[in-house]
């Protein structure tokens, strides 16, 4: 009864994952102490990786859409605001207790972390629990402030480049402030 995706998609997924896993491990964001260091505001590797990925990704995606239009479709998730927010809070608490998110947890297993294995098993249990709760969530939390698959670009009608530029400026300012702060705090090495 279960179907497989096309062989091409499976191979492309595997290659994408290989690169993604390589990068996460090489960037040290698959480390418990780097992730907890971020949440204790002591090590900003995770924020640097995420903001850079967002800005660089956005530049390319909106450039491709400028040239090829909807031949390069977006993949926007639903803005079920209450669900996004409550889910985000539960996720943030869990991520600090565990020390990994789903992707970095799997990458941490790959580099040998033992406790990450129990975290990933917990994630499977969490998925099974949520599957039983989803019908109830759909009738309650996910109905509140459901805006659909909407982006800031749709909502404002502005050019996407306004947001690309704004996010790039914000990222550069944040990086400059963090850099200054790191130099003032300690010359210690980050990210290992």
């Amino acid at each position: 009864m279960f179907r497989f995706d096309t062989p091409l998609n499976l191979v492309l997924g595997l290659v994408t994952g290989l690169v993604f896993g390589f990068l996460l491990q090489r960037g040290a964001v698959s480390r418990y102490r780097v992730i907890l260091g971020q949440f204790l505001w002591a090590n900003h590797t995770m924020l640097r990786v995420m903001l850079t990925a967002v800005v660089v990704g956005a530049i390319g995606i909106f450039a491709m859409r400028q040239i090829w239009g909807d031949a390069v479709p977006l993949h926007v998730k639903s803005a079920t605001i209450l669900g996004n927010a409550i889910g985000g809070i539960i996720f943030g608490i869990g991520m600090v207790v565990l020390g990994y998110c789903p992707g970095t947890g799997v990458a941490a297993m790959g580099e040998g972390s033992r406790h990450a294995v129990f975290g990933v098993l917990g994630m499977l249990a969490g998925a099974a629990i949520y599957a039983e709760l989803h019908a109830a969530m759909k009738g309650s939390i996910l109905k509140v402030a459901d805006l659909g698959k909407v982006t800031l670009v749709d909502k404002t009608g502005a050019s996407p480049w306004v947001f690309v530029l704004a996010s790039a400026v914000i990222a550069v300012v944040v990086f400059a402030l963090l850099h200054k702060r790191d130099q003032a705090a300690s010359p210690g090495q980050e990210g290992t």
Partner: protein, 179 residues
């Protein structure tokens, strides 16, 4: 080959790499990076070994296991994620056999069993939160962030603030000495 053996790359290089990887997944594969849906699929596949009737009767599993391919692009991505990190840690000689992290031990002690139970509970919360929100750090945080999706930015900000609050509540500023 030297650069592949350098154990650590700049976070900006890593971030840019993930950004460029997203260009390829969006432009060529028509996909966005994401991870957490795979946990639903794997949980459902494991569950179907024990009670396929129960799994089939659940609309949430039906969507990911029957309507869509059960073994899909993203599931292979997650397998690749494991292997990619393994390869990187071997090439960079940066493998780790962490059982009880220093920070955790400073507060909860050095018991392995205690840490494993803690990690398990943390994992449960992570996936419940991700599925309620509709994505995780990859699908919402990175892929949704770069599309300026409103729900994704709500998730990004709330998980980050909740994480900061939890970390300081559990470990306080002294925790910084252990990371």
């Amino acid at each position: 080959m030297n650069v592949l053996k350098k154990p650590r790359w700049s976070p900006y290089v890593i971030g840019a790499g993930i950004g460029v990887l997203s260009w390829i997944t969006f432009g060529v594969m028509h996909k966005a990076l994401g991870v957490s849906t795979t946990f639903v699929r794997v949980a459902g596949l494991i569950g179907s070994i024990f009670s396929s009737g129960h799994i089939k009767a659940n609309a949430y599993y039906e969507r990911y296991l029957i309507t869509q391919a059960a073994v899909d692009w993203q599931m292979l991505l997650v397998i690749g994620l494991f292997v990619g990190a393994l390869i990187s840690s071997l090439l960079g000689k940066s493998r780790i056999k962490e059982t009880v992290p220093e920070l955790w031990a400073s507060k909860f002690g050095r018991s392995k069993a205690g840490r494993y139970v803690g990690a398990f509970i943390g994992g449960i919360l992570v996936l419940i939160g991700a599925r309620l929100a509709g994505g995780c750090t990859s699908g919402h945080g990175i892929s949704g962030g770069m599309q300026y999706a409103i729900g994704s930015w709500v998730f990004f900000v709330t998980f980050f603030v909740a994480g900061l609050a939890t970390a300081f509540a559990l470990y306080g500023k002294e925790g910084r000495n252990h990371v």
